[in-house]
């Protein structure tokens, strides 16, 4: 990979004096002369103030004039300013990954003359630029069609919204629920298939190949994206109501909604919070139904509840209204006792607000009991077919904030509505809007993405399936092609639209055949060539950001603890080799910072990192080196103090251990 990249690399080096601030400590003409004498680049100049409009214009012209395709800017590290330079570069077709910055302020801090440091740092960055894999912005053809699974209300709403922008096929997923079909009547761009099940899904986002059986007939069709909107199933659980059976005066809430009995002059009682404790669906339904009953002349409407849930649009107003029209809201604390006759039902409870009154009985003509919402039985099967992960209660979706509200573990496959946990109508609206926006990316039939997915060197790929099996996003396929230069003529390939670029595969690969652009082994091992006392490999979703906060707490802290922070896309990218090499090259202690449990953006990157930590600890122990020189720390982006403390603790620990005996002196 390096070979090819190098030959076409034309680097422009800009040494910015930041309005004379830097030349006090750095002899720019010397830096320029030394770099010129040995390095491999196209153009170099010293700038007075590169971020000024005239110099930016000049930079823009020079990119053309010298056909530059890489930039190295040595100057300040202000992200706002760097962004402007990147903007100029991108306008000239140099993608952002090929603009590198050297922070001259940082390296000259506390020094009288930082000329040599500047030279070393520019040289090192030049080396790294030479190692970068070429990243092109690719334009990919995608299928705009979307498959929506679920013909209930939720599926109907989703299909209708999506079909405004792109073709939709709506299938019932083998369920008999079809009450959403009214919603899509007359919708253009929309095909309905009932008694239709997904049998197989292969391919990747933008071009999933889906095998569907419709009334027993099997068809294959391509879809760019898939939306699962199966809904959830209300189930009456009598054990929650002291064994009371449905029938006669006792109805479940869904039975009641489906066929509301004649209400004039009748008494009704609803019971909430025995079932359906994780959603607002029953609360919202009961509020709506209770008000309607009262308005239609019911004699008496009672609602038993523990906590009145109102966390959705208009629910508090509805609750106000319900109270104002005279619905009795009865809070209960202890268990309810329900007794029924053929024509009435009585709820006995202890009135918590009126201790003197004690036990109260409420008798009504109809008793309506809330139900639990559970996933449809096809959920498990569909999850297996589509390689999707389930969460609590057997609902779709990983129980992890990174996936909320609509993401699945696979790109191009989304969840809407109660199939990933019972949700209320107003939340559904927002989920549908979000999912329509996501699948809308494919509406034009083309997408542009930077080709940042890992590359596989076929010569080293043993097609062992380790990457394929350890990819949390199912983004890897094994391709066969005579041009692939190994004995199998096969190799793993990461799909640009399916890959989320965590780098777990690269760290798992036993043949070191996989390299993640911008984080190749070569780049990371070069960065850690001369480790200071401590090295921290920090996930950029947590540790790296916490390190920045720690730096704000104490701007000297990295110097104080002689710490190098190495940014990685995920703790799952941290290879066993990086850990060993850091110690072999003389680090006294190594830390890996990953996200908290159940918070890894890539599902199990943090778990893989912990396993590797254990593996390396064992390897160290076996050769008599203190295992505790290596530590894994769970952290979040906002935990600067915790980052600081973890580093301090490691510094203290290695001080007690004394010099790392495994350090290899060369």
């Amino acid at each position: 990979m390096g070979e090819n990249g190098k030959r076409n690399t034309r680097v422009g080096i800009y040494l910015c004096d930041c309005d004379g601030k830097l030349s006090k400590k750095i002899d720019f003409s010397k830096v320029k002369t030394v770099i010129q004498s040995k390095a491999d680049f196209e153009y170099i100049r010293v700038a007075k103030r590169l971020c000024g409009p005239s110099e930016l214009q000049e930079l823009s012209e020079e990119i053309d004039k010298y056909s530059l395709n890489r930039l190295l800017i040595a100057g300040c590290s202000d992200p706002m300013i760097n962004r402007r330079i990147v903007e100029v570069a991108e306008n000239k077709g140099i993608v952002r990954y090929f603009v590198d910055f050297v922070d001259l302020f940082a390296l000259s801090e506390g020094k009288k003359d930082a000329t040599e440091d500047a030279i070393a740092s520019v040289n090192e960055t030049l080396d790294l630029i030479g190692m970068k894999a070429d990243v092109k912005i690719e334009e990919l053809d995608v299928v705009p069609d979307v498959l929506v699974i679920g013909c209930g209300i939720e599926g109907g709403v989703a299909a209708r919204a999506i079909s405004k922008k792109q073709p939709v096929v709506l299938i019932d997923g083998g369920l008999e629920v079809t009450d959403g079909l009214d919603l899509v009547k007359g919708a253009k761009n929309l095909t309905v298939k009932t008694n239709a099940k997904v049998l197989r899904v292969s391919g990747f986002p933008g071009e999933f190949l889906v095998r569907i059986s419709e009334n027993g007939k099997v068809i294959d069709q391509k879809f760019g994206a898939i939306v699962i909107a199966l809904g959830a199933q209300p189930v009456y659980d009598k054990s929650k109501y002291g064994g009371v059976e449905l029938g006669g005066p006792v109805l479940s809430l869904s039975q009641f909604v489906k066929s509301r009995p004649e209400c004039a002059g009748k008494r009704f009682t609803f019971v909430l919070d025995k079932a359906d404790q994780d959603s607002l669906i029953s609360h919202a339904t009961v509020l709506r139904e209770a008000v309607a009953l009262k308005e239609q002349g019911a004699a008496d409407v009672n609602v038993f509840y523990i906590d009145m849930k109102v966390t959705a649009d208009h629910l508090e107003q509805m609750y106000e209204k319900a109270r104002s029209v005279g619905i009795n809201f009865l809070k209960y604390v202890d268990d309810l006792e329900i007794r029924t006759t053929s024509t009435s039902a009585t709820v006995r409870y202890r009135e918590p607000f009126l201790p003197d009154v004690g036990i109260v009985e409420v008798t009504s003509d109809y008793l309506v009991l809330a139900e639990d919402f559970v996933p449809f039985s096809v959920t498990q099967e569909l999850a297996e077919i589509m390689e999707l992960r389930l969460g609590p209660g057997g609902f779709f979706q990983e129980d992890n904030v990174h996936f909320l509200p609509i993401k699945s573990n696979r790109e191009g496959i989304f969840f809407v509505g109660s199939c990933h946990g019972p949700i209320h109508g107003t939340e559904l609206t927002r989920e549908v809007e979000a999912v329509a926006a996501e699948v809308g990316r494919f509406a034009s039939g083309k997408v542009r993405v930077p080709a940042l997915q890992p590359r596989v060197e076929a010569e080293k790929c043993a097609v062992c399936l380790t990457c394929y099996r350890s990819c949390p996003h199912k983004a890897i396929e094994i391709v066969h092609d005579e041009s692939l230069n190994n004995m199998y003529h096969s190799a793993a390939r990461m799909h640009p639209l399916a890959c989320r670029r965590c780098g777990t595969c690269a760290a798992e690969c036993p043949g070191k055949a996989i390299q993640l652009p911008l984080y190749t082994d070569q780049e990371i091992l070069t960065k850690t060539k001369k480790p200071p006392t401590l090295v921290a490999f920090a996930c950029e979703n947590s540790g790296a950001l916490a390190a920045e906060l720690a730096q704000k707490l104490d701007s000297q802290f990295q110097e104080k603890f002689k710490l190098q922070v190495v940014r990685v896309p995920c703790a799952g990218k941290v290879d066993v080799i990086y850990l060993l090499k850091a110690l072999e090259r003389g680090a006294e202690g190594v830390l890996v910072f990953g996200c908290h449990q159940e918070n890894c953006k890539y599902i199990w990157g943090n778990k893989r990192a912990i396993k590797r930590k254990e593996q390396v600890r064992k390897l160290l122990e076996d050769i008599g080196i203190e295992r505790d020189r290596l530590e894994f720390v769970h952290i979040a982006a906002n935990q600067g103090n915790q980052f600081y403390d973890a580093v301090k603790a490691m510094a203290e620990k290695v001080r007690q251990f004394g010099t790392n005996p495994g350090k290899v002196v060369r």
Binding site: D307, V401, H402, R430, S444, C595, Q597
Partner: protein
């Protein structure tokens, strides 16, 4: 390259999400933030993980800020304010002031992502907020724990009895706030949980009206909070807090389940202040010709399209449209970005 340009007003969770999503689709964004730094309120929240993530999502916000600052297609203007907005064909001509500097932009669409302000207790003195230093808001507790690392580091080791008071300014018709702020019960519960893991022997209470737990497994979460973490739930909102004795706080409340008035002493009181429309919403609505709802949040065109407004080319993202938690805000902002993209490419 001739790129489309969009103005996003507000650099918090919604504004950043929307800007990133648009940039990913190749759209240039001018992101205007009133404060000195982008990130918004949630950038000050603390992590609520104990031995595992408790799903508060605060970390997502800092991840986004990091991405925004690296994204060349997003021009971030901080300490900035939108001065003038004039229709210009399908889009708008806007001028943005940053102190003395003024700059003009031709944009194809505008996204309002102005977030919220916590309820202003103003002259209401019953909770001694602003008088007693240990009566603080939930946001202040979040920031203190984030910055200092723990409750003890922030407030000293004398804190052994902590009370959370819910619905301060929410669900309160006497001040016209007939809505639930949605997020407070869960964040109070999660804060209580991390305080419990730090201080195993502290007495922690939550004063509430109706506990609003929703989401997968959250009823179990609440149950565990009571049974395992020994958090006391007291149904009833206190009527009075005053500094007594010495540096402690006396809380007077009626436990509605016991029907008795009680007084208890606390070391720290945390008020869950309502989510209210951010200051300047009314002016911004007038400037853009937008409608506000009964409570002063920006009103969408309909209940079915919550990111679209009555003004073509102006969209809503996040809490400015009504209370939302962080994942809901992110979802809403992505939806807004999708609609904006459709609008400007149509």
């Amino acid at each position: 390259m001739n790129r489309k340009k969009v103005l996003v007003i507000g650099g918090g969770t919604a504004g950043m999400t929307c800007a990133l999503d648009l940039a990913e689709r190749g759209v240039e964004v001018v992101l205007v933030e009133r404060e000195k730094e982008i990130g918004g309120r949630a950038a000050d929240y603390c992590c609520k993980a104990t031995d595992e993530c408790n799903r508060c999502a605060a970390c997502l916000v800092l991840q986004q800020r990091d991405k925004v600052l690296q994204e060349p297609l997003i021009r971030v203007l901080t300490s900035a304010e939108v001065k003038n907005v004039a229709r210009n064909g399908k889009g708008y001509k806007v001028s943005v002031a940053q102190g003395e500097d003024k700059s003009e932009y031709d944009v194809q669409a505008i996204v309002v992502a102005t977030g919220f302000d916590p309820y202003d207790l103003g002259k209401r003195s019953e909770f001694s907020y602003g008088v007693e230093k240990n009566v603080i808001s939930g946001l202040e507790l979040e920031r203190a724990i984030k910055e200092k690392g723990s409750l003890t580091a922030a407030f000293g080791s004398g804190i052994q009895k902590i009370g959370f008071i819910q619905c301060v300014g929410s669900r309160d018709l006497s001040i016209g706030n007939g809505y639930c702020s949605r997020v407070c019960c869960m964040y109070a519960a999660k804060l209580a949980k991390i305080i419990r893991s730090e201080l195993p022997d502290a007495d922690i209470c939550i004063f509430y009206m109706d506990f609003q737990s929703f989401g997968k497994g959250f009823s179990t979460f609440k149950k565990e909070l009571g049974e395992l973490d020994k958090i006391r739930f007291i149904r009833g909102i206190p009527s009075k807090i005053y500094g007594f004795p010495y540096d402690r706080l006396t809380v007077r409340y009626t436990d509605s389940l016991e029907g008795r008035q009680k007084e208890e002493k606390f070391d720290l009181i945390v008020l869950s202040l309502a989510i209210t429309p951010s200051r300047g919403s009314r002016e911004l609505a007038a400037q853009l010709g937008l409608q506000l709802d009964d409570y002063g949040f920006f009103a969408p065109r309909s209940d079915e399209e919550t990111v679209v407004t009555n003004q073509p080319g102006v969209f809503l993202a996040g809490v400015c449209e009504g209370p939302k938690d962080i994942p809901q805000t992110i979802g809403h902002a992505r939806a807004a970005a999708g609609e904006v993209f459709n609008y400007i490419s149509g």
